[in-house]
């Protein structure tokens, strides 16, 4: 009688522990996922991608052939480095055939914006200067 009561108590305790462990595991996975999501958002990669693509597009739209443009990209390089973007040359890309500027500050995705000024972008180059990384490119007439 005493032994059977002990066995039953042990089984009940195991049941309580196992269900608690399952609940805890689900909660942990959930909070880990939320933290990851929050971290990515606070890092602001997508907001900064939009910011840089749209600001560069604005510059291109008001530029004239022959202009050389230099912009401060310190913030972009900091975010890209934090997000393990392989090389800095990947951050800014210019598609002259589709008149598009694309900015990539996190692996796996990029944000693009189109410019209506009928020009092409030549020799985009990132210069890494301490505290002030810059991007330079030249505006040119499209090849007819």
């Amino acid at each position: 009688m005493n032994i059977s009561l002990k066995i039953k108590n042990k089984k009940a305790a195991e049941n309580v522990i196992s269900s608690t462990v399952i609940y805890l595991l689900i909660a942990m996975v959930f909070f880990a996922g939320m933290m990851l999501f929050l971290w990515n958002q606070m890092n602001g990669a997508s907001v900064w991608e939009r910011y840089y693509s749209e600001e560069i597009t604005k510059l291109i739209n008001i530029a004239k052939p022959g202009d050389q443009i230099t912009i401060d990209i310190q913030k972009a390089t900091q975010i890209a480095k934090k997000n393990n973007v392989q090389t800095f040359s990947e951050i800014f890309s210019f598609d002259n055939s589709q008149n598009k500027v694309c900015v990539k500050l996190s692996p796996g995705k990029k944000t693009c914006y189109s410019y209506f000024n009928d020009v092409i972008i030549l020799s985009p180059d990132i210069k890494l200067i301490p505290e002030n990384n810059i991007l330079t490119f030249t505006i040119s007439e499209p090849k007819k």
Binding site: K8, A12, N15, S19, I22, Y23, I26, A27, F30, G33, M34, F37, L38, Q41, G44, S46, V47, E49, R50, Y51, S53, E54, T57, K58, N61, I62, N99, C102, K104, P107, G108, K109, K110, T111, C112, Y113, S114, Y115, F116, N117, D118, V119
Partner: protein, 151 residues
């Protein structure tokens, strides 16, 4: 001793728990999305720059607005150095001379008017700018949104 029915009840309790997590997670995600996604709308700036570029072009160049519409379009986009393809996709240009629409589609001006009233907060509608230059009424609009691409 716990009955089998009681154990079943305990297992079923996991659904409200997961549902609660989904509601909390969804709430946080929605809040963050609303906070970070709004407030950086570039359509008005695009429309203003395009309008300025056209004004500058009409001031410095002489374009024959009395020719055939197709020829006028070709001349306008070449002389003003504006990419016609990009304009067709995401922008609006309507140029009227002495109140007669010479370039662009008249109904686009209605779309612009709508976007300033009923569809003010609709991101799919263009945001427009209208200016007057001598005999010209220049209306430009942009409905361009940043595009996310998977790499």
């Amino acid at each position: 001793m716990k009955s089998k029915k009681a154990q079943l009840g305990e297992q079923v309790m996991i659904f409200p728990f997961v549902l609660m997590l989904i509601v909390i997670g969804g709430g946080i995600a929605a809040g963050i999305y609303v906070f970070f996604s709004s407030g950086y709308d570039f359509r008005k700036v695009d429309a203003d720059i395009l309008n300025y570029k056209i004004q500058d072009c009409l001031t410095t160049n002489k374009i024959n607005f009395n020719q055939d519409k197709a020829l006028l379009e070709k001349e306008f986009f070449t002389v003003c150095n504006i990419n016609q393809q990009i304009i067709k996709e995401n922008f609006i240009i309507v140029i009227a001379k002495n109140s007669e629409v010479k370039l662009g589609i008249e109904s686009d001006e209605v779309t612009c008017a709508l976007s300033q009233t009923t569809a003010k907060n609709n991101p799919n509608y263009p945001i427009c700018t209208t200016t007057f230059l001598n005999d010209f009424r220049i209306t430009t609009g942009s409905k361009q949104q940043a595009q996310k691409q998977i790499t």
